[in-house]
Subunit: 698 residues, 2 copies
């Protein structure tokens, strides 16, 4: 699923400048690619079209939704409201498993704690902010003047409009905008399918296509206890789509790393991702070693293995993209062109001329530090990880603020860390409550570290202290009391004195290791500082050279992207542009139906078997389209040329994971739920023609 989640990919460098390719780009609403749309698709959206799709769209925080009726009905993905469904479920009413359909408005269920927002106004304040910075100010004074002016603009605008404003920086600070939102807090559940249908195929089918997921849910926005009547909502298309049809996706893509330099991408391709994958292979092998003992052990690690596989899957997709020689040539050529433009401009040359070389040096430092960064740590022991956190927290709090590591400087940051360290004993992959598994992972990881770093490495000397990995792991896991939340709470509250006096074997180990880990952290911070500084300089140069002809990287703000419903090559063949209900049943029965015991992710609710005969089996269920999206786009409305809703974006294909680095029109595809399938399910499976009528106005 395309949640807005950051991949656990610490070894991969962060921050290319790709040549713009066909459908590439997540465009801001003030700067649509009108020329490309006209030339390639003979499509000219007027301002009314542009405003209409923007004003019909909502940000849900990490997901996107859209108004689809005049009475405030909102449609998004099932996985975007799954948390709410889970919180609202009780022993007797499992909304996740059984789904929910309100047969009348009074049955609609309030979902507490949600904030939905619509982007009502956008103000470019770049010039005004620049004017507020008078000549002759120091850098610090300039920053303060900028912040003050932004506060003033925000107050002014909020007073004028009644909206809530956010500062939005685009093009690495090249433009500053004020985005004004209308905020909704009263959100009520209207309809959600059973999770077995919404996430059919579970983690196995995640990121894959052909896909068969009815990943939608419907809520209604209320204001003053009455359904909200939005000025704009999307009309539900009853025409459907065919291959080649132009689609648009309006949503909130979270983050892309396309401004990385060629050197960073090569590093990720040759070292970063392969190391991540090797590490995932090792973790999987250890979990399998544990699981081989018997059925119960196997069950305990099944979900963890799926988690490892999903991370590996995403990274394998990225790696396949980075290994595409043609794409890499294109990226290199684009970088060369920017370098040449920078070299020609004396001012840019002075600030940025050496930035690419500096980034390359940073990558060499990162490479030199790769093995140590991998093995100097908590060695897959969740409890040692907690102990290291407790030891560092205590030590950092003793230091003056400016000498601390970044995340220990603010009170808010400290609060987050303390909450995490005092939380339930989950730890890495749920092992905290499973000493047997933790001992195995810890032992094997220490064995790996000893083999890779050598027995004389300070970390190995400190962690083993002359004992074997098995002895160290067993003693620490058996002796520790850190699984008790109260013990951790006391150590947090007791500060440096409590930590220094603790005889808990995990704390003892962590105290010995902390200086070595701090030195390792320093090396990583040095690399990060170079990458941030020179990454920003390159990004600014790019904006100076190309301006707004290139779209900004994704930043979680509202964007629009476009592309046609299209096949792509995979699995040795071409993937079909659409899947259908027939495909859902094929995969269900192909796995042996609900009788299948080994693999249950393709089971279907009985209702879906009973109603199979009522469905038009050729109705499109999901489709593949060449739009440029990323995590945060989940739930985004897919609209046609008329601005009507034709689908809901919910995932990308594996090959599209390379979209972190660049958009490849050959294989980068997004996967959406077809609006027709939702409509048909409401009527024929969920007996809710009233909702279908509200959507279609019939």
């Amino acid at each position: 699923m395309r949640h807005l989640s950051v991949l656990a990919l610490a070894l991969v460098s962060t921050l290319a400048l790709p040549a713009l390719r066909a459908e590439e780009g997540m465009w801001t609403f003030d700067n649509l690619p009108l020329k490309q749309l006209k030339e390639k698709y003979a499509f000219e959206p007027g301002q009314a079209w542009i405003d209409h799709v923007r004003l019909s769209t909502l940000t849900l925080g990490g997901c996107t939704g859209s108004f689809v009726s005049a009475d405030g009905l909102v449609v998004t993905n099932h996985h975007c409201t799954r948390g709410s469904l889970s919180r609202l479920s009780t022993k007797d009413r499992d909304l996740v498993k059984d789904g929910f359909v309100a047969m009348s408005r009074d049955q609609e269920l309030k979902l507490p704690g949600l904030t939905y927002r619509t982007l009502m106004a956008m103000e470019n304040v770049t010039g005004r902010v620049a004017k507020a910075v008078k000549p002759g100010l120091t850098e610090k004074q300039a920053g303060e003047a900028r912040a003050k002016e932004l506060d003033a603009i925000k107050a002014e605008l909020e007073k004028q409009t009644g909206l809530t404003y956010d500062v939005v920086n685009l093009y690495q600070g090249g433009e500053t905008w004020m985005y004004g939102f209308k905020v909704f807090k009263d959100i009520r559940l209207v309809a959600a399918p059973e999770i077995a249908v919404a996430a059919f195929g579970g983690d196995y089918d995640n990121f894959t296509y052909p896909r068969h997921d009815l990943d939608f849910s419907m809520v209604r926005v209320y204001e003053n206890d009455k359904p909200y009547h939005p000025a704009h909502h999307l009309t539900w298309s009853t025409e459907g789509l065919k291959a080649g049809d132009l689609t648009f996706v309006v949503g909130h893509p979270g983050r892309t790393s396309r401004l990385q330099t060629f050197a960073q991408m090569k590093y990720d391709r040759d070292f970063g991702i392969p190391t991540y994958l090797k590490n995932a292979d090792r973790t999987r092998a250890l979990l399998e070693e544990y699981g081989k003992q018997d059925a119960e052990h196997a069950r305990q690690v099944q979900t963890m293995i799926l988690g490892v596989n999903n991370g590996a899957k995403a990274n394998e997709g990225s790696l396949a993209g980075l290994k595409d020689a043609e794409a890499m040539k294109r990226i290199e050529a684009t970088e060369k062109a920017l370098k040449a433009a920078v070299a020609k401009d004396p001012k840019l040359a002075a600030t940025t001329g050496k930035s690419w070389a500096r980034v390359e040096q940073a990558m060499q430092l990162q490479k030199a530090n790769l093995k140590e960064s991998l093995y100097v740590g908590a060695a897959r022991s969740a409890t040692l990880g907690q102990a290291l956190g407790l030891v560092r927290l205590a030590a950092q709090q003793e230091l003056p603020v400016e000498k601390r590591l970044t995340e220990y400087r603010s009170e808010a940051g400290l609060k987050v860390l303390k909450t995490r360290l005092s939380g339930p004993a989950m730890g890495m992959m749920g092992q905290g409550a499973n000493p047997e598994l933790e001992t195995l992972l810890f032992t094997r990881s220490l064995e790996d570290a000893r083999r890779e770093l050598g027995p004389q490495h300070p970390y190995i000397v400190a962690v083993l202290g002359g004992k074997t990995p098995a002895e160290v792991a067993k003693a620490a896991v058996e002796g520790t009391k850190l699984n008790d939340q109260a013990v951790r709470k006391d150590l947090i509250d007791g500060g440096q004195k409590a930590v220094a006096g603790s005889a808990d074997p995990m704390i003892v180990l962590a105290r010995k290791l902390e200086p070595i880990l701090l030195a390792q952290r320093k090396k990583q911070d040095d690399v990060k500082a170079i990458l941030e500084e020179h990454g920003a300089r390159i990004a600014k140069a790019r904006f100076a050279v190309y301006g707004k002809t290139l779209p900004p990287d994704a930043t979680g703000t509202l964007r629009i992207t476009y592309g046609a419903v299209a096949t792509y090559p995979a699995n040795g063949t071409l993937q079909q542009p659409f899947t259908t209900w027939a495909g859902l049943y094929d995969r269900h029965f192909g796995w042996g139906g609900n009788e299948a015991k080994d693999y249950t992710d393709w089971h279907l609710p009985q209702r879906w078997l009973d109603r199979m005969g009522k469905l038009d089996l050729k109705t499109h269920l999901n489709f593949s389209h060449a739009v440029d999206t990323t995590g945060g786009n989940s739930g985004s409305p897919v609209v046609n040329r008329k601005g009507e809703l034709v689908g809901l974006l919910f995932d990308g294909n594996i090959e599209g994971n390379a979209g972190r680095y660049f958009y490849d029109e050959k294989v980068n595809r997004s996967v959406s739920v077809d609006a027709q399938a939702i409509l048909e399910a409401l009527v024929k499976v969920y007996d809710a023609p009233h909702l279908a009528a509200e959507l279609t106005g019939k």
Copy 2:
């Protein structure tokens, strides 16, 4: 499809010794893996079971079939009778496109030129042949004595039994057998589906899974103008299969290369296959360059591009297997074990001790010659290829037989070459009749060769003679008359004198190039000779050490292999064990149905749309099972523990293409048509309940 076809893979070395893994092995009928079957599947087939499945099976020459009724009904793949269907088709009756069902026996259509054979008797004559070779004979005398004895045995057995006998060498000559066949010549067509259903998805879906092909056809064997009544035929299972069920495949796998050494596999992995794929990429790019001009040019090259893609697909599968670190480790360890056993035995050490090193040297020679072997040749010009053939034929015929290249030594060999050289101007990828395409391919290939070999290379000097590639290609393609079959016929008949006197520009070029190509051929032959000699020594040593505990490589003779219906990981998920009718319709409608214009390989005959509502959509159509098969197994009966027919093997997955080198239980799968689908189609789509009744005896 799993035809018995040799892949165009000249650059890949030929002739490992894998550690035997679970379902590995294509076993001869005298040596079934009874121990493994008992231990893993608690299955003990009696001799009656073994004889029954053998005697029910037929070799069709490159394919396999089986008797499925007491009245001589035989079932095999559609692609195994496609040639016959095509030959029997007329302007008014297209049996390939429209299919065929005989509604009564008198409608059954005679298929001329076919020979079907059943293996009735197997005689191990190793001892008797050995006895015929008296001590003291020279190698030549021994060979003659062996041949004479085999002739005598054959005559004797044929007289005794009335069967036709073949000599069968197994274990690289370690065992010699006489296989006795009953031969059938009167074969009549009973039923065949439309090719759109039999080969649904066309070349695109070839080698892929999930698959949806009703790849079957039915013929009847006649004797004396009456249906033949075989003593044994397979009962058509009406139970069906489920995931995990044990299956057996009885058939005629053609060739595997599992006896290759580790060095050869590494060569194929690192150089052979990557070079093949690079070459395929280049060919594809050139064809696309040609096709980009307009729709008509695109149409001309579409099939050629699919052909290139299919070859690449098979090789990518093999390469993925060779890149599996775990599998390669296993192969290396197995080779080490055999080397150690050889080293311990003085006799084996004397003959074979140095063979691995010799093979490794040969691979180094091959690597050193790789670039030249790729660029010294016909440079993708089909006509230059013909000219080179004509020049060599004339020159070789001037030489005494013993000095000629192997294929020019026998009259039969010469006849084959002459027939090929005088045939229609098809040439490589149909370009013979398309001078525009040939000029482009020729020009670009000469440009590639000049860049890669350098302008001073004798080949470049000879072929260009100071001109540009474009000039040389244009002049030769425009000036040649070799597309005229009569011109080639005259050059063949006129021999060396006619060839030497020809002013045809392609012949002139070929005369200049022949000495350079001969020298290149000599280098390749040297490598081949080492590989053949030492490959045979290693194979003999293997038999000496392991005997019959390991199965022999595939040789086109009757074998049995076993494995369960099973999923495997691919496309980022797990593949479903079965596909269903629902999947066929999903893929059809997902591609836009019969209205789809760009991609027509998923169109369905109208009859299949009309009858969709009659079919039980959850009926299994194809399935994936972990059996060890290869080309030649097409049409092989898949039987269950009861010896009943449950399916027809018709393909393997892409990942299984590594089966050329080794069997990998994780991903190597065969794909079969489910017997239930055939039965249901006969009744519900083809209105042929009489055939279903003959199959099920109901």
